[in-house]
């Protein structure tokens, strides 16, 4: 079958190390997203898998077969590029036919004028045209076959690029930020189409993006990358609710997670921002920790005291159904942001003092160095109380 496996892949460009010892196994038929900010090495990893770039060390296999040194053509992969990389001088039909022509026609048959005279060229050409048409129809671009890319809209070009990748039934689909050149509305629509395409084809998809929303909505698993390292590979809910370290927690979610430095008062209780919160971690008294609390993990509490944080409201952003409340808290340098449901917190205004409770199990503990301190009761999808709202929160 066609899973993909990276073993200890390293790559540097000159003195810059772009991939440090990346190992990753991707199951056959899985939709895996490489997520990270630009320059994190995600595209390089994809290009190494495609054979466009060679790793310095480590190995890559596709479907259990080592592909190191194998040319892109022979890797049974197809790729959709960020720029689509359609050949501007060819029609849509010619663009989509090229991968088939290159595989099914001999070098002689591919020669510009002369090739047409050779036996078999015409028959093979007819078959290719038929397959191209079938694929184009399936993508709803059958009527565009005779146009050139320059005459197409962004969304149509994107479909042609997908069609060119699809037409030869590759075992693995690679997509390098395929939606980033589309406007917001079209992006959401194409996202759905890609999801459906994956379902229909059932082959392995590897998708590179810096957009959390795409990663969260599309993927079976998300691989978060930063500075050439794979930080965490897990299903979207888990990445969100149970990050493996501070950097993942900070990268995922918008507005950004609040980070508050605290000290363990006694087992299970942490002094933070002038108050005390109950966080069930296995650390002794006096240990310095950082608590990560997502804006949506707060709720309005009636009074101060243990279990609630108190702050002065700086200002309030009204977002329709939600309010983003920015607060100053004692001993916290950056303003804390709370995302509250508008109907539950109707009258909050700048200057007032607000008490905020934290939902159970939603304060994530980290060491000051950024490593995650797991709660004594392990996280499970069922335990992640509000994960059902996850998708709208990360938007």
């Amino acid at each position: 079958m066609s899973g993909v496996s990276f073993q200890n892949v390293q790559k540097s460009f000159g003195p810059v190390s772009v991939l440090r010892d990346v190992s990753l196994d991707i199951a056959d038929g899985e939709f895996l997203t490489l997520l990270g900010p630009s320059g994190c090495g995600k595209s390089t990893l994809l290009r190494i898998l495609a054979g466009l770039e060679a790793q310095d060390s480590g190995s890559v296999s596709i479907g259990g077969r080592g592909v190191d040194g194998v040319r892109p053509k022979r890797r049974d992969i197809a790729m959709v590029f960020q720029s689509y990389a359609l050949y501007p001088h060819m029609t849509v039909a010619q663009n989509m036919a090229l991968p088939l022509r290159m595989r099914r026609l001999s070098p002689w048959q591919r020669l510009p004028v002369f090739g047409r005279l050779l036996p078999g060229t015409k028959r093979a050409g007819g078959e290719i045209a038929a397959e191209v048409e079938r694929t184009a129809k399936a993508l709803g671009i059958g009527h565009l076959l005779e146009r050139k890319p320059g005459q197409l809209s962004g969304g149509q070009r994107q479909r042609v690029a997908v069609g060119r990748a699809m037409v030869r039934h590759p075992a693995v689909f690679l997509m390098d930020e395929p939606l980033s050149n589309l406007d917001a509305k079209l992006r959401v629509q194409m996202r759905t189409e890609i999801k459906e395409l994956h379902k229909r084809l059932g082959v392995t998809f590897i998708y590179v993006t810096h957009d959390q929303a795409e990663a969260m909505t599309l993927s079976d698993r998300v691989a978060v990358m930063l500075d050439g390292e794979l930080l965490q590979v897990a299903p979207p809910q888990e990445i969100y609710a149970d990050p493996s370290e501070r950097r993942v927690a900070e990268f995922i979610g918008s507005p950004k997670i609040n980070m508050l430095d605290g000290v363990v008062r006694e087992r299970g209780l942490i002094d933070v921002a002038g108050s005390t919160l109950a966080v069930d971690i296995d650390r002794d008294q006096g240990a310095e920790v950082t608590l990560g609390i997502r804006p949506e993990a707060f709720h309005v509490a009636d009074r101060s005291g243990p279990g609630a944080l108190t702050g002065a409201v700086r200002f309030v952003e009204h977002m329709g159904s939600d309010l983003f409340v920015h607060l100053d808290m004692p001993g916290v340098a950056e303003p804390v942001i709370a995302r509250l449901l508008a109907e539950r917190a109707p009258q909050i205004s700048a200057g007032q003092t607000l008490h905020l409770g934290v939902r159970p199990n939603r304060a994530l503990a980290f060491t000051r160095e950024g490593a995650r301190i797991r709660p004594r009761v392990q996280w499970t999808p069922a335990a992640g109380a509000t994960v059902t709202h996850l998708r709208e929160y990360v938007q």
Binding site: G51, R71, P72, M79, S83, Y87, P88, M102, G150
Partner: protein, 314 residues
């Protein structure tokens, strides 16, 4: 072109009667005339009026220095197209262009492709091949003459050493034009190369990546499917520009052959020079100038069309 001063114009439109806007506008116009005035006058005196003058003179039988002249209408044009010498000159020019253009374009493209196909020594190769384009052609023509010298020239010495037939290249009417064309190619191929190198650089790397994945990873497939089609517009442009340069070639003829032997290497610009400034047949020379101008303008207009359409792949 007219968008630059839009803010000022909007101000004026909003308050058409207000005098501050008008004063500002007047000041700006005044500055415009002051700054552009000298260039404007010089363009009229040095370009526009002379071109009109050429057309007018071409319709006269004026001989430079003569006190009187008559308007003869198109008689000069009838004369030059009936003139064996001019016809030969025009034909020579066309033959010369037809050798120089393909030679320069193909060699320039080949060298550009070779340079761009690897990464080492790029600047060195580019510099070497570009050198002839900026070296003073009048001086280099003299070096070429020594090279082509029938007895002591390197070319004949080499041919003789290889047992091949030699020739008196610049004095033989069968070889003189091709040899001049070869010098033309030698001079211009670096220029074509530079334009092609720029064209190659502007081909997105993504297209080569896509070609790799689509399986077009052999050298010839990449060339046929990506490189050459993407260079199409640049190639058309180079063809026209080199053709223009070839039509304007003069120095080698003037220094090496003076149009000889016979009329075998007489080209348009040389005829123009000789008729106008050696024989002082001003009216006739002006007519030749008009023919030359028509050819060059036609080519330039084609080039402008191509420049406009250069974006057609986008």
């Amino acid at each position: 072109m007219s968008a630059t001063a839009a803010p000022l114009r909007n101000v004026e439109r909003a308050r058409p009667a207000a005098s501050p806007a008008r004063t500002l506008k007047l000041a700006e116009a005044l500055a415009g005339y002051m700054l552009a005035g000298p260039a404007f006058l010089l363009l009229i005196v040095l370009f526009i009026l002379p071109v009109f003058a050429v057309f007018v003179i071409a319709a006269t039988d004026w001989q430079f220095g003569a006190r009187s002249l008559d308007f003869v209408g198109l008689a000069n044009f009838r004369e030059i197209f009936g003139d064996e010498g001019f016809r030969i000159s025009l034909m020579n020019t066309i033959v010369y262009v037809l050798i120089v253009v393909p030679g320069t374009v193909i060699l320039g493209l080949a060298i550009a492709l070779l340079i761009e196909s690897g990464r080492s020594w790029r600047a060195f190769y580019r510099a070497v091949h570009f050198l002839p384009y900026m070296a003073t052609l009048a001086a280099m023509a003299i070096a070429w003459e020594a090279l082509l010298h029938p007895t002591i020239g390197l070319l004949n010495q080499t041919l003789a050493a290889l047992g091949l037939p030699t020739a008196n290249w610049l004095r033989d009417e069968n070889t003189v034009l091709p040899v001049l064309a070869a010098i033309g190619i030698w001079q211009n191929l670096g220029f074509a190369m530079v334009l092609f190198l720029a064209g190659l650089k502007s081909i997105p790397q993504d297209l080569y990546d896509a070609a790799d994945i689509d399986g077009a990873d052999l050298w010839l497939d990449r060339l046929v499917n990506v490189t050459l089609p993407m260079l199409g517009p640049v190639t058309m442009f180079v063809v026209i520009v080199v053709a223009l340069k070839a039509f304007e070639s003069f120095d080698t003829v003037q220094i090496l052959t003076q149009g000889g032997p016979g009329h075998a290497s007489e080209v348009l610009l040389y005829t123009l020079y000789r008729e106008s400034f050696e024989y002082l047949r001003t009216g006739y020379g002006a007519s030749v100038t008009v023919v030359f101008l028509v050819i060059v303008v036609a080519l330039t207009l084609i080039q402008a069309r191509i420049m406009d359409r250069r974006v057609h792949y986008q």
